[in-house]
């Protein structure tokens, strides 16, 4: 029997980490992810885990320590947010290119400036090309479940890539909700022990990691990373299927909510999906065929699968909780429309940048999106494709 609890998103993640009992956790506190290393350090102090907890002096050091630990042959985890992730920037690329399956909990927050500690996805979107797998979580349950699946995906021999599990800062990280936890023993047997094939502390095989990689070699190593990201698609589905057998909870690349018979739909990630589900239900009471596609797996991006699940719609709105500031669309929008175009699927699709810096996104906001989508569906004219939701000065 699973354990029924009520936990915040940060508590859920730290309990998942306790159950995983990694060899090393190196982290530096930053709002809103601070509680994760804070709770975890109490588990270390109380002897609930036998993890080496490294209280580093910066996030650059946190990621460096994780890289060192993972290269040595240990299982390493960390947590951060926003500017903490920014300070890890250099090391994020080292971690992925050295193929070290580090697992990070990224509690999404606006990257300054001006200074803001609240939720948007600008931190995760900034790291979207860093070679990390990125899984997004609607609520505390998904954040917990994604962390439990993370090592199985990241450490798979055909993948060997670092992985970050995203959840919305404060909105889910600090909100207490009901959750179903697995028993410690079940987590232990599901996650398994980390057995790297090559590692620095193996005295039977002295190796060099991260050597000079000039014009004749780097391209091939990047091609390998790209292949690993493609392989990750298969492995994510395999691990998710195994997880479903254990828990009954289904995960894929994305969740389709009332999408199969929908005419208009919203595409979004993380907690906004919860608000969107409520809005879809409300609109359906009035006979409006609204639907939702909630992306869980943003890197690798399941372009073909997303395109396929959206092909029957009359109009689509992609909601980006980060502005790419590129005089065009947000990152999710561009990936979705590029995926559809490549699959020769042409559905009128508009983009909304929303919720920046923790701006509240209410069901009435999502209703407004659906109402504008109805017009697009009716006329087939997308008008301005690059729209804003909830910013003053726009209609």
């Amino acid at each position: 029997m699973s354990i029924r609890e009520r936990l915040s998103g940060n508590e859920a993640v730290s309990i998942a980490m306790k159950q995983i009992n990694p060899d090393v956790v190196a982290a530096f506190p930053i709002t809103p992810s601070t509680e994760i290393p804070q709770y975890f350090s109490t588990f270390v102090s109380n002897g609930a885990v036998d993890t080496e907890f490294v209280a580093v002096e910066s996030e650059h050091s946190a990621m460096s320590a994780c890289i060192g630990a993972e290269a040595a042959g240990a299982r390493a985890m960390t947590a951060t947010s926003a500017n903490g992730l920014s300070l890890m920037w250099e090391m994020l690329y080292i971690a992925s290119s050295l193929r070290l399956p580090i697992v990070m909990s990224l509690v999404n927050r606006a990257v300054s400036g001006p200074l803001n500690i609240h939720n948007d996805h600008s931190d995760a979107m900034g790291a979207r090309d860093s070679g990390w797998i990125q899984l997004f979580s609607e609520n505390n349950q998904e954040a917990y479940d994604n962390i439990l699946m993370a090592h199985r995906i990241a450490e798979h021999k055909d993948v060997l890539l670092p992985l970050m599990v995203c959840q919305d800062g404060f909105i889910t990280s600090h909100s207490i909700e009901n959750i179903e936890l697995l028993e410690d023993e079940k987590v232990k047997s599901f996650v398994g022990t980390y057995k790297p094939e090559h590692y620095l502390l193996n005295d039977k095989e002295p190796i060099a990691i991260g050597p000079l990689d000039l014009q004749s070699y780097l391209f091939e190593h990047k091609r390998q990373q790209s292949e690993a990201m493609r392989n990750a698609k298969r492995v994510i589905l395999e691990v998710s299927e195994e997880f479903e057998k254990l828990t009954g909870r289904h995960y894929g690349f994305f969740e389709e909510y009332k999408l199969s018979d929908a005419e208009i739909a919203v595409v979004c990630m993380n907690s906004t999906a919860g608000t969107a589900k409520y809005t879809v239900d409300e609109l359906r009471k009035n006979g409006i065929k609204a639907g939702l596609l909630k992306i869980r797996c943003f890197r690798p991006f399941p372009a073909e699968e997303v395109a396929n699940s959206l092909k029957h719609l009359k109009a689509i709105a992609v909601l980006d909780k980060a502005d790419s500031l590129n005089a065009a669309g947000g990152a999710l929008y561009e990936d979705v429309v590029a995926g559809m175009f490549t699959s020769n699927i042409h559905v009128p699709t508009i983009n909304y940048v929303y919720g920046i810096g923790g701006r509240d996104t209410k069901s009435t906001d999502i209703e407004k999106v659906f109402s504008e989508l109805s017009t697009v569906a009716k006329t087939g004219d997308i008008g301005n494709p690059y729209r804003y939701l909830g910013v003053r000065g726009e209609n």
Partner: protein
């Protein structure tokens, strides 16, 4: 012992992340093609004082079993000229 990798190896056959699964592999990395000038060894002026080979930052001055230096191994010589600077007898010139 890992499979040799060179600039014709496909990405499918390379080790991930450029990992090298052999110890002492720096010997396989010849740096001699970086050179713009090279040291010339004048054996007749050399007193075998032993000052040159410890300052070589690579492996360009071989020392034999009799503890005597031999001619340069240009595969590892970057032409930095430190050996010529340190030689008190003018037995190494750069050209």
């Amino acid at each position: 012992m890992s499979t040799p990798i060179d600039s014709n190896t496909s990405w499918k056959d390379m080790t991930i992340g450029g990992n090298i699964y052999d110890a002492g592999n720096a010997r396989n990395f010849t740096t001699g093609d970086w050179r713009s000038v090279k040291p010339i060894y004048l054996a007749e002026k050399c007193k075998q004082c032993g000052l040159c080979f410890p300052v070589c930052p690579d492996d360009a001055i071989p020392v034999n079993k009799e503890q005597k230096r031999e001619n340069f191994n240009y595969d590892y010589c970057k032409g930095c000229g430190v050996c010529a600077k340190v030689c008190p007898f003018g037995a190494i010139i750069m050209e």
